[in-house]
């Protein structure tokens, strides 16, 4: 780890101001950033902690929309329960340590291809709220570890319309328990949405073919014969592109079955 200054603002305004400094970087739960710093893969001069800002925390359920503050940890989302599939997802991220430190804003800002939250946001048609705008999930995830966020822009909240039916199923890589393939399906006002994490070289994506099939018949059998091409899937030490492509089909069926 290289030396850095740590700012701990208590208001959003102070945080934005601090982030205006040269090579300043926001620090949320630190579950990815701190290991990255330890590996000396990043060298920010200042870290601006977001976890001391009350207005970034908390969960509100109003008019069928669940609004979660950007600095809310996974364990709090897991406990909430008003969007059961989302709470289920949050309750199975990493381990207790990760769940009590890691935050939803941090996870979405980082957009790790194996992270769980991006699938939830995309499949729910969530809105990513930042300090200066609102971004629809469909426009937010732009690639591996890449998002529509500008430099210095931070996620203040995420708004999830609570769907009629939803479920998340992940196939865990047995050693790290990261998602080798994770699928979040929803059925609600926005129709059927299917988002896949862990599998693609482009990060989280919507499987539109499956969405169409499930729109007319929300049942695993509707997916019979559908598959995603192996081309563009991640191939690494934990699985081939062909295996991941195959798992996308199986795990989507499981998610649909779980959503009921």
């Amino acid at each position: 780890m290289y030396a850095f200054e740590l700012e701990r603002p208590t208001t959003l305004a102070d945080a934005i101001k601090a982030l205006g400094g040269e090579e300043a970087q926001p620090l949320s739960g630190g579950q990815t950033l701190i290991p990255t710093l330890k590996q000396r893969l990043a060298m920010p001069s200042t870290l601006v902690s977001l976890t001391g800002i009350d207005e970034l925390k908390g969960i509100k359920n109003e008019g069928g929309t669940l609004t979660i503050g950007g600095a809310t940890c996974h364990a709090d989302v897991a406990k909430d329960g008003s969007y059961p599939a989302l709470s289920d997802l949050a309750g199975h991220i990493g381990d207790p340590h990760v769940r009590n430190r890691g935050t939803i804003g941090g996870s979405l800002a980082n957009n790790d291809p194996s992270a769980c939250y991006p699938a939830a946001a995309l499949a729910s048609g969530a809105t990513i709220v930042t300090n200066n705008r609102e971004i629809a999930a469909d426009n937010y995830f732009t690639g591996l570890f890449e998002t529509a966020l500008d430099e210095g822009e931070i996620i203040t909240a995420v708004k999830f319309p609570i769907p009629e039916k939803a479920a998340y199923v992940k196939f865990e890589q047995p050693a790290s328990r990261f998602a080798l393939v994770g699928v979040f399906v929803t059925k609600g006002a926005n129709g059927v949405r299917v988002a896949v994490t862990g599998a693609s070289e482009g990060g989280v994506f919507r499987w539109t073919e499956a969405e169409e099939a499930l729109s007319s018949n929300f049942a695993p059998s509707a997916l019979e014969g559908l598959s995603v091409p192996a081309d563009g899937m991640i191939g690494d030490l934990h699985g081939t592109p062909e295996y991941r492509a195959h798992l996308v089909g199986v795990i989507t069926k499981r998610a649909v079955m779980k959503a009921g």
């Binding site: 047995p174 050693a175 790290s176 030490l237 934990h238 295996y243 199986v250």
Partner: protein, 759 residues
């Protein structure tokens, strides 16, 4: 009487409270220095330039040592002298140590090491078995073949012939305590080391060689290891020598431990194998001929690869009589870490080869694999010879397997599984019983010896010391039980002391499952001498020394009854020596490895396991549902310790063949160097139903209390997990699954898909 009691491990309370001292817990002097290696970042090449200026000037750095700075021999190998401590100009694997940093802390040493600018001109690296075969990169110039009978004509006459091959992955030891050493300089340039090693004597010898001193100038102490599994037989040499050399050059104590990633990258692992086979049976389903080609990926240096590959050949028969057999062993030299000893020492790979043949042939013949195995067992009544000419005596597997199959309802469950599978299109269950016959003794005959030192103090308390090392397996407790039992005293009177080359010299590694056999006997020999002296002293008034009894904390000589402490005190006051060294050499063994004939093993240890699994054919996910084991430890020295070894052995063996996958990339970089990428079985992965029983019997040869070795054999019980998965995959269709190891979900899925497609 302490013998045969299920006493807990002597350090169990200390293990769970954290009070047990490992090397890193030993307080070090304030001026202690810490070491880190700088490693090669290419698999093969020539060092064209090495700029260590930034390393030398980094904070806390006291000294930087390269090959040219070493005071003595630059070698860490067990025997072959082909493994430099620091690469002298050429590098042979990714992760090979090139230079050594000596700094004021572990962290500063590591940070400094990362600052080196080393330029290596890469050369084409030989990474895989295929690469090595293509350029004939062999140890010993070419393959080694052992045979019996005449395979080709026998095969030609066979009624049914199968051919195939299986890939068997390697395995990381994953001892919880990583490699570590601490060296302290003494008067006259002598060196004392505390080392986490299974082989203190080898550390002593190699350190002496590196310092250019006689063996007597180096003393090595090992109280306990946090796991060894063979990974601390030779792999501790580098750290111990590095510490000793740095301590010699700086005059200060030096300590070195590897971080986990470095530990996994630098040190050797279980050899991965490819075994190609051809086997024939006659019309009655009896094996008539088997041919094996065992391809062994040895890595860049010889280390223990020759005896490991030999042991794989020696277990190519497992429990079966094969009249005509040819085993060819290809020991391939590759630019990967030097594969080393790992629990079973090649035996498990050889055994997987023949068990694969049994599974494949039974499938071809449409027979129950168990019945096919039983039909080909060595005969119990009239000892038949192994392919290497040793009569298989005391062979209990026919009875043991029958008993296990009966008590675990093998046949009923197998039938039930068949019925269940017919109604279950997606989930498929499988069941398999595999036997183990494992040869006990070092194949290098002279290693089969042990020494001990037993002291009785004037207050009747006793210390024991021997050449064996404690790595969690319970050796010390078993040997203490021998001493307490022989003296007829409570366990509380016997203190177990750290293995120390200054107390018992010229010892062998604690390996080959031999710890209790050898050291138990050596301690008994020492105890017998002391008892004999006390008995002769007390045997007066017509009492014969042999009639003096040591039991229940008392020494009884005719009408004289003394407490053990009174006897000790009296003996001391009458100038009777109460200290003795003991010795043991295993009888009846001989071996010629060049022709593959002899009597390499004193006896065989046996066992069998039935594993039931379920697989999801859509994903390959799988789970062990139930395991039943019946294992032969002869007359158990300690049933609690033995059952622990059997449970752990099975889990480690099943882990090797199912979840533990080592992945090197096409540059020869090990990509699985942490628990985040390499999956060892955790406590939650053990089978939900796990029935382990000990075979009721005694060793047919006179080992210590007729017990049997238990360290390695149970690992091979895990082979039943692979064969059960094969059985489950086979339920998807007609074709043989051809499942390789480790049978990860992806491999199980692909195999099930292939078998299903051929339906």
């Amino acid at each position: 009487m302490s013998m045969g009691k299920p006493l807990p491990h002597d350090s169990a309370p200390m293990h769970v409270t954290g009070a047990a001292r490992y090397i890193d817990d030993i307080p070090v002097p304030a001026d202690c220095l810490h070491l880190a290696f700088g490693l090669s970042h290419v698999a093969r090449g020539v060092i064209s330039s090495m700029d260590l200026t930034a390393v030398r000037t980094a904070p806390g750095v006291v000294r930087v040592i390269t090959a040219a700075d070493l005071p003595g021999v630059n070698d860490i190998s067990s025997a072959a002298h082909d493994e430099p401590l620091l690469a002298p100009g050429e590098v042979h694997y990714h992760g090979q140590p090139i230079f050594l940093v000596v700094a004021t802390s572990h962290r500063l040493a590591r940070e400094a090491a990362a600052k080196a600018e080393v330029v290596i001109d890469p050369k084409p690296a030989i990474l895989t078995i295929d690469d090595a075969v293509a350029v004939r990169s062999y140890f010993e110039g070419g393959p080694l073949t052992w045979k019996r009978g005449d395979v080709d004509p026998a095969m030609a006459k066979a009624d049914t012939i199968i051919e195939g091959k299986i890939e068997i992955g390697g395995q990381e030891h994953f001892y919880l305590e990583g490699q570590i050493s601490l060296a302290s300089p003494q008067d006259n340039g002598d060196m004392v080391l505390a080392t986490s090693t299974q082989h203190p004597t080898e550390i002593q010898h190699k350190v002496a060689e590196a310092l250019g001193t006689p063996f007597h100038a180096v003393r090595v102490e090992t109280r306990r290891m946090g796991g060894g599994f063979g990974g601390k037989e030779s792999q501790g040499n580098a750290l111990a020598i590095a510490c000793a050399v740095a301590a010699h050059l700086t005059g200060k104590p030096c300590k070195m431990r590897y971080d986990r990633d470095d530990d996994m990258i630098i040190t050797g692992k279980r050899h991965d194998f490819r075994i190609a086979y051809k086997a024939g049976v006659d019309a009655k389903g009896k094996l008539v001929a088997v041919e094996f080609d065992q391809y062994v990926r040895c890595g860049w240096s010889q280390d223990l690869s020759l005896p490991v590959a030999d042991r794989a050949m020696l277990h190519a028969d497992n429990a079966y009589f094969i009249p005509n057999i040819r085993i060819t062993s290809h020991r391939m030299k590759t630019n990967t870490c030097s594969a080393t000893a790992f629990r079973g020492f090649g035996g498990p790979q050889g055994m997987v080869g023949i068990e694969r043949v049994m599974d494949h042939m039974a499938h071809r013949l449409g027979m129950d694999p168990l019945e096919f195995r039983q039909a080909n067992f060595y005969k119990k009544s009239k000892p038949q010879e192994t392919p290497y000419g040793q009569p298989v005596k005391g062979f209990i597997l026919p009875d043991l397997v029958r008993q296990l199959a009966d008590t675990a309802n093998y046949k009923t469950r197998r039938d039930a599984i068949r019925t269940w599978n017919e109604k279950s299109p997606i989930l498929k269950k499988g069941i398999a019983l595999t036997p183990v016959k494992f040869g006990i003794s070092f194949t290098l005959t002279h290693l089969n010896q042990a020494g001990a030192l037993v002291n009785v103090y004037a207050d009747g308390s006793v210390t024991i010391n021997h050449g064996g090392t404690e790595m969690g397996q319970g050796l010390f407790q078993k040997v203490a039980q021998v001493a307490a039992g022989e003296f007829g005293i409570d366990m509380g009177r016997v203190r177990i002391t750290a293995t120390d080359t200054g107390k018992v010299p010229n010892t062998s590694a604690t390996a080959a499952s031999s710890g209790s056999d050898l050291n138990g006997m050596a301690v008994k020999n020492a105890v017998d001498q002391i008892k004999d002296r006390i008995a002769r002293f007390l045997a007066v008034d017509g009492v014969k020394p042999k009639d003096v009894l040591f039991a229940d904390g008392k020494v009884t000589a005719g009408n004289t009854v003394l407490s053990f402490e009174e006897a000790a005190k009296m003996a001391h006051e009458n100038r009777i020596s109460l200290s003795a060294t003991g010795f043991y050499a295993t009888p009846d063994i001989s071996w010629d490895r060049t022709i593959g004939k002899g009597h390499p093993f004193y006896y065989f240890a046996h066992g069998a396991a039935i594993t039931e699994v379920v697989i999801d054919t859509l994903t390959g996910e799988n789970k062990i549902l139930r395991v039943d084991i019946l294992h032969d430890v002869g007359q158990s020295l300690n049933p609690a310790v033995d059952v622990g070894q059997i449970e752990g052995g099975f889990v480690q063996g099943a882990g090797w063949l199912t979840t533990e996958e080592l992945v090197w990339d096409d540059k020869g970089v090990l990509r699985t160097h942490a628990p985040s990428t390499y999956k060892i079985p955790a406590c939650s992965d053990r089978p939900d139903v796990f029935n382990v029983a000990l075979w009721n019997g005694e060793n047919h040869v006179p080992t210590i209390y007729r017990s049997k070795a238990v360290g390695e054999p149970p690992l091979m019980l895990g082979i039943s997990a692979l064969m059960a998965l094969s059985d489950a995959v086979g339920a998807c269709g007609e074709a043989y699954p051809n499942l390789s190891a480790p049978a990860t979900p992806e491999r199980v899925y692909m195999a099930a898909k292939k078998v299903g497609a051929k339906r």
